[in-house]
Amino acid sequence: MQSLTNRSKVVSKKEMTLVERMYLPAIFSGMLITLSHFFKRKPTIKYPEQKREFSGVYRGQHVLKRDEKGAERCTACGLCAVACPAEAITMTAAERKPGEENLYREEKYAAKYEINMLRCIFCGDCEEACPKEAIFLTDRQVNVYGQRKSFVYGKDILVEPKDNPIDLSKRQSAAVKEFKTHQEFGHNQTYDKNRKVKVGGHH
């Protein structure tokens, strides 16, 4: 029967010649192969000193963004927590008091917002689900700790510092921003352009 692939090889069972039975030439050539590897460039990246270059869309530690005026964007709607397949996100909502307008953008805000980094699988569904452009994954890596409770990140770590905003220009490129203005796509209809809430999503 003809074989369908050309992968099979006929094994030859010929007697080895004297030189082959001495094994020494084979050993010698094998040792030359390993020696050639001795002088090769090593592909190792020595982690804390050298870091692998991440792509712009790498999904690492989360950030809770502030708006242009420095108010927190998150409105504690809980969509990220619902979207999270690992159930890593929890939050407690609170109502904004008068005089806190510069702190929180919407009338409702997250008083507590926690992500368990041990549960998180960095899928980016929270980022996708967020209607307020509040949560993003960044190209930063989660730290290493000795205790499990240290991996539960609260707002103190997650919210970006006011004076040092996290740059998302690589993942929020001009093309992405332009794409989000297209109202004909259902998932873009909640996009908050110029602070005008679009109503009428299909789903």
Binding site: I27, T34, L35, H37, F38, K40, K42, T44
Partner: protein, 349 residues
């Protein structure tokens, strides 16, 4: 030489040889990991100190800090005796190796060999064959099937390969005409290296040296895939460290012996043309010997990370059916060559 001078000089020499042996063995562990890494396109340990140079210290601290376990079913005294014997016999062999020519200070001769036994080669062999006791006793006393199998393998392997090793040395003794290590080293001045006289014997000796030190491809006594850890399965802490350390000392001594027997020892061709001061020559000789030893230690590791381990029957086949007949053939050829005049006369008459 006054007795006090003699005593102090010998004490310093013994301590120096002992310290250097331990130091080389310590850094062999580091070299092994580095060389393994480099041969496998990795970088190896590089966290402790620059290039990981302090790694052996960290390993030693780790070994000492580990919990000391003695199995309750083991024979406690033998269990402790095993690694001690392995270490003791490994350290004993450095005594007869000529580390260099003699130094001359104030007209007095200070030999760089601890003791020049006139049967140095025999002494070396007897101590090396004692080395199997440490492994055997350790494997037996553990009262564990894996350890026992490792011990049995070690003893049968070492005994088998000692035969071929001894026969290859007989051919060397036939050409050098002496059993003193000092004489053997001194005869190889210039290019008179024994490897050029005894290439087959040298090859057999090196192969047997691999088997005697339990190094890959002959590391069956501790073969992880079949025997967990072989004879040192039940050992922990510094007792395990002693077994591993003894292996590296053995490797160092084997390298020294191979260099001395076949590769000129402390001699280096042409050096006499530029250096005439005997003391300077002696010190340079020590340097040359250590260069050769370093090469052979590298060679041991290079082979370990290239060749796969033998199967047990292949090991025995190689030892009994190939190496022993070859070494006997080597003896016959050596004898025939040294008696060539008489043989020619016999046939031409």
């Amino acid at each position: 030489m006054a007795f006090t001078t003699y005593f102090i000089y010998k004490a310093i020499l013994v301590l120096a040889v002992f310290a250097i042996t331990l130091l080389v063995a310590t850094y062999s562990t580091y070299a092994e990991r580095k060389i393994a890494a480099f041969l496998q396109d990795r970088v190896g340990p590089d966290r402790a100190g620059p290039f990981g140079i302090l790694q052996p210290l960290a390993d030693a601290v780790k070994m000492f800090m580990k919990e000391e376990m003695i199995p309750s079913v083991s024979n406690k005294w033998l269990f402790i005796l095993g690694p001690s014997l392995a270490m003791l016999t490994a350290c004993l062999t450095g005594v007869v190796i000529p580390w260099g020519k003699s130094l001359f200070i104030d007209g007095q001769e200070f030999s760089l060999q601890i003791t020049d036994l006139n049967i140095g080669v025999l002494y070396l062999f007897s101590v090396v064959s004692m080395g199997v006791y440490g492994i055997m006793i350790g494997g037996w006393a553990s009262n564990n099937k894996y350890s026992l199998l490792g011990g049995i393998r070690a003893s049968s392997q070492m005994i088998s390969y000692e035969v071929a090793m001894g026969l290859s040395i007989i051919a060397l003794v036939m050409t050098t005409g002496t059993l003193s290590m000092k004489e053997i080293a001194a005869q190889q001045h210039g290019w008179h290296w024994n490897v050029l006289v005894q290439p087959l014997g040298c090859l057999i000796f090196i192969i047997c040296a691999f088997a005697e030190t339990n190094r890959a491809p002959f590391d069956l006594p501790e073969c992880e895939t079949e025997l967990v850890g072989g004879y040192h399965t039940e050992y922990s802490s510094m007792k395990l460290g002693f077994f591993l350390f003894a292996e590296y000392i053995n490797m160092f001594i084997s390298s020294a012996v191979i260099s001395t027997f076949y590769f000129g020892g402390y001699n280096m061709p042409f050096i006499g043309r530029w250096v005439h001061d005997p003391n300077m020559l002696a010190i340079l000789g020590v340097v040359f010997l250590f260069v050769k030893i370093s090469f052979f230690i590298f060679f041991f590791m290079w082979v370990r990370w290239t060749l796969p381990r033998f199967r047990y029957d292949q090991l025995m086949n190689l030892g009994w059916k190939i190496l022993i007949p070859l070494s006997i053939l080597n003896i016959v050829i050596t004898g025939a060559v040294s008696m060539r005049v008489e043989i020619l006369e016999f046939f031409t008459k």
